[in-house]
């Protein structure tokens, strides 16, 4: 995802001279070409994220179009009040790109994990939240965020990346804006996920014979509009049971968001979820093992499918 985003940024910067890229001393090698082509439009702000957000907001107020890139806890949590005051309250439009969603930085430890960012960003009014599931989708999310930045409302966006090396999910098709389907909507149940964990789910489903008929919906934008559309699709397709999987705490994440919208409708769908346990993770394992040990054990997914056949 990192590389595809860097490629897309380069493409947009070639077309729009207002794009200015700010990084918090993160992004080793991926921006080399950008820096070579646009040395005046790349600022390594150093390890000073609070200042970086303030500077970005100031640049935006002068008509520049800043894109800010660093690791999620430092971008979102370290500088949260700057995001609230200087982007939210002062209504500035720019794009925040965070790398390391969920447990992407597995062995780097708990300081580098990010399982609260969606909740935090959902609390900023007008902030668009994108949670891409593949390198191609990450480019698409950046394009959409860029369009919104240039659109009528000029809203800011947050794009939550995983890291690098994620596969694409080739069979997936966009059935509605930011809603992707893998499989056919012909059963009474489905899986809904967001972000890079979607490809792990996809691989897992394909390996299991029992899971062949299950359909998988992937959400790439966490917004009330998209989720309302999702609920419409579920209802139209007579889906009765949904398992929501997200690499995030339950608090303020996709599951709670969908549930919150659903209870305000007259429809009832049985929701279950797999998310990260609400605790800090100190074990040193790779991402898959950490997910398994901390709430997202995909054998539970198999169990859910079997129980609901």
């Amino acid at each position: 995802m990192r590389n595809s985003i860097a490629r897309k940024l380069l493409e947009i910067a070639s077309q729009d001279e207002k794009l200015i890229l700010l990084a918090g001393d993160i992004g080793f090698r991926i921006f080399d070409e950008f820096i070579e082509k646009f040395p005046d439009r790349f600022i390594n702000c150093g390890i000073a994220e609070q200042n970086m957000i303030g500077v970005a907001a100031g640049l935006a107020s002068e008509g520049m179009k800043p894109v800010v890139y660093t690791i999620i806890p430092f971008l979102i949590m370290r500088a949260y009040e700057q995001i609230r005051v200087d982007i939210g309250i002062n209504n500035q439009s720019l794009i925040l790109i965070g790398v390391g969603g969920g447990l992407a930085y597995d062995k780097l430890g708990s300081t580098h994990h990010a399982y609260e960012d969606i909740a935090l960003m959902r609390s900023i009014p007008n902030m668009n939240i994108y949670s891409p599931f593949s390198p191609i989708n990450a480019e698409d999310c950046l394009t959409k965020a860029w369009d919104k930045l240039n659109g009528k409302n000029q809203n800011p966006s947050y794009i939550r990346l995983c890291k690098g090396g994620e596969p694409d999910i080739p069979e997936t098709k966009e059935i509605k804006t930011n809603i992707f389907l893998n499989g056919i909507l012909n059963s009474s149940k489905c899986i809904v996920s967001t972000g890079a964990i979607s490809s792990m789910i996809d691989t897992h489903i394909k390996k299991k014979k029992t899971s062949k008929t299950i359909c998988h919906i992937i959400i790439s934008e966490i917004s009330a509009e998209t989720l309302l559309e999702l609920i419409n699709i579920l209802i139209e397709s007579s889906i009765k049971k949904v398992l929501i999987i997200e690499e995030h705490f339950e608090s303020g994440g996709l599951f709670e968001f969908i549930a919150g919208i659903l209870v305000k409708t007259k429809f009832r769908i049985e929701l279950e979820n797999l998310c990260l346990d609400k605790k800090y993770i100190f074990e040193i394992f790779d991402r898959e093992k950490l997910l398994e040990n901390n709430g997202i054990n995909l054998t539970l997914l198999d169990k859910w499918i079997l129980e609901n056949e």
């Binding site: 702000c45 100031g58 002062n90």
Partner: protein, 263 residues
């Protein structure tokens, strides 16, 4: 250099009237950040006395001194004193801190400390033709983000940004030296690569020439003014008394204050 005497006189008149106005308003509103407003007022008068000849954007990073800014904007005719009759009342355009867009000159909402300097850096970088004056406090300089901002300002040689530290040496509860001292701030800034000028922050004749030269593009390097000020300046019983950071003014105190201010 142009004869600045007229501007000295103008700024002094601004300060004289502004001190009286803000004291009356705090009395009427039954609260307000009077101490810091009285320390920053001569800085604002000096800058805004020059506004008729040079344009600049003003970012009040120590946003709690909004009232000092508002009465200064009365001086240049951006608002009328009557517009402040409902200051801090229900439904007013003006609360305790600057709200972006509430007036033409108020372009940034502040209030939480340590934000304005970074934003001012972004503005200065984004538009090198623009002049930006950013006022911060010594208490505000407890915030780490202020020092991130200073490093950025130095690194990117933002010579179109003038930062003025209203160094009144007090915070909300106590003197800055008893909390998180910024003593030797000139040396601290020098270590970052910023040449700061120490001046008496109540001496219009010291402030205006520096601000004037800045607005004239005479400085090729970033400029910081350390304005040595007194919190509560002009009203003896408020000067250097921490409780006057934010407080109501009683009727008998008002009479005494106005007498001292010559109001």
């Amino acid at each position: 250099m142009k004869d600045l005497k007229n501007y000295f006189q103008k700024a002094k008149l601004f300060s004289y009237q502004s001190r009286i106005d803000l004291t009356n308003i705090v009395h009427k509103a039954k609260g307000g950040h009077i101490g810091g407003s009285l320390s920053v007022i001569d800085i604002m008068s000096s800058a805004y006395a020059l506004k008729e000849i040079y344009n600049f954007e003003f970012i009040l990073s120590k946003g709690h001194c909004l009232l000092a800014w508002l009465v200064t904007l009365v001086r240049i005719g951006e608002i009328k004193i009557n517009d402040l009759d409902d200051f801090y009342k229900n439904g007013s355009l003006f609360g305790g801190h600057p709200k972006k867009g509430s007036l033409r000159s108020i372009t940034w909402s502040t209030g939480s400390l340590g934000h304005g300097l970074s934003v001012a850096c972004g503005k200065a970088l984004g538009n090198r033709n623009k002049k930006i004056i950013c006022v911060i406090g010594d208490g505000e300089s407890n915030e780490g983000s202020i020092w991130e901002g200073f490093m950025f300002m130095s690194q990117h040689k933002l010579s179109n940004l003038l930062v003025i530290i209203d160094n009144n040496k007090q915070e909300s509860l106590d003197f800055t030296d008893n909390i998180l001292s910024i003593s030797n701030v000139q040396k601290r800034l020098a270590a970052i690569g910023l040449k700061a000028k120490e001046v008496d922050g109540h001496c219009i004749e010291s402030l205006i020439p520096i601000i004037y030269k800045f607005l004239q593009n005479k400085y090729k390097e970033p400029v910081v003014i350390i304005a040595e000020t007194i919190k509560g300046k002009g009203i003896s019983f408020m000067e250097k008394v921490p409780k006057w950071h934010h407080r109501k003014i009683k009727d008998d105190e008002l009479a005494k204050a106005l007498k001292e201010l010559g109001g």
